[in-house]
């Protein structure tokens, strides 16, 4: 499957007994306050506020929490837990952009500017737009300090990805060889096969 295209890859996955992974149905992240998350994800970013479920048990232990779901256009969700017994407003401060970042996709540069305008109107600071290989992006944080990016793909997005795919294995092999010494000495669990 080294050189499989996306559709061939799906076939290989099926023939090896692995059902396809379609998408991320939801991300579920802790938040300090569900209403603050709603104001940001619904009122500012324009997602659909689709569910606010109150529970007194999380399946493992008794705990009061609210689970809120915001729906994107394609039908998947950004979800949050608000558990007042364990409030940690600085939870995400430990993470930099490359440690934990959600990138949200819009279709066009005009839509990217639309999101940027909404952020400005709400007093949310953002960086960018930054032009990169896959498109243009703006960067900002949500009320919990989670790093967010909104990305508008370039017109030749699939061509760029196809070119990257052609050299990905060679680049990774070189990288693995180059960095092995810096990873030595750490005990790691075996990767499941």
């Amino acid at each position: 499957m080294a050189n499989a295209t996306s559709s061939e890859n799906a076939g290989v996955a099926a023939s090896s007994g692995r059902p396809p992974i379609l998408s991320i149905h939801h991300t579920a992240l802790r938040c300090f306050d569900a209403e603050a998350a709603r104001q940001f994800y619904e009122d500012v970013l324009g997602l659909n506020f689709n569910a606010a479920q109150v529970f007194d048990h999380n399946g493992l232990e008794p705990v009061d929490f609210m689970h809120v779901f915001f729906r994107m256009r394609d039908g998947d969700f950004l979800a949050f837990f608000d558990a007042p017994r364990d409030l940690q407003p600085d939870f995400y401060k430990r993470y930099g952009q490359m440690d934990f970042r959600k990138t949200l996709r819009v279709a066009t540069e005009a839509e990217l500017l639309d999101v940027a305008e909404r952020l400005s109107a709400a007093g949310v600071e953002y960086a960018g737009p930054v032009t990169h290989e896959l498109g243009k992006s703006i960067f900002f944080k949500d009320p919990d300090g989670i790093h967010l990016e909104v990305l508008a793909p370039v017109s030749d997005y699939e061509d760029v990805l196809a070119q990257e795919k052609n050299r990905a294995r060679e680049v990774l092999a070189g990288w693995t060889q180059k960095t092995a010494a810096r990873k030595a000495g750490f005990k790691r669990a075996p990767v499941p096969a």
Binding site: A10, A51, M66, F100, L172, V191
Partner: protein
């Protein structure tokens, strides 16, 4: 049969309520080792390994080398990881529990979800669940970096359940604010006083 005029009107109505945010393009994380992460996301989970992008990242004001790798799902979106060998942090997510953050991967059907649960069992991957969340069913497990992942599928009446949830979501939020608002206000006040 819909006329052109009524179809146009439908599209306008849809555009008023359809979020400009189309999808979650990617989640980006740190990984311990790009090849270890590839073995899990490509060889075990079957995602498409579609890019390995050498880059430089800022580490406390110093530019260091990094490799960014992308794994693609069927809808075209990604899991993305940064391997930063001058700042190896093998335990970066180890203290994060499934109720701090998790990422739910959607499979097409209950039968295919069953196959994944069986594969987790056979591969010796510990998992939590199955749990019944009404509109979805879930099992939770960890990737090699300590991130909590989930396999989920949408039950047949996923949309009907969500429509019911939506109908009382605002009321539920008002109740929640009434119940927890004071506690959070105290917390904010205490934090501000520190």
């Amino acid at each position: 049969m819909a006329t052109v005029a009524s179809m146009t009107k439908d599209r306008e109505a849809e555009s008023e309520t359809s979020p400009v945010i189309r999808s979650l393009h990617q989640m980006s994380f740190r990984c311990f080792d790009a090849e270890e992460t590839r073995r899990f996301y490509e060889d075990f989970l079957g995602l498409e390994f579609c890019a390995a992008l050498p880059t430089t990242v800022d580490l406390g004001g110093k530019q260091v080398e990094a490799l960014r790798i992308l794994f693609r799902m069927e809808n075209g979106d990604f899991f993305s990881f940064y391997d930063v060998p001058d700042d190896v942090r093998p335990d970066i997510y180890q203290e994060v529990g499934p109720f701090d953050s998790h990422f739910a991967m959607k499979v097409p059907s209950e039968a295919q979800w069953d196959i994944w649960v069986d594969r987790l069992t056979k591969a010796g991957v510990e998992y939590v669940g199955p749990m019944d969340h009404d509109f979805i069913r879930s099992v939770y497990f960890k990737d090699p970096n300590g991130l909590w992942l989930e396999f989920t599928y949408q039950v047949a009446d996923h949309e009907e359940i969500l429509a019911r949830e939506k109908a009382h979501s605002e009321e539920a939020m008002r109740g929640w604010i009434a119940k927890t608002g004071e506690q959070k206000a105290k917390f904010k006040k205490a934090a501000a006083a520190e």
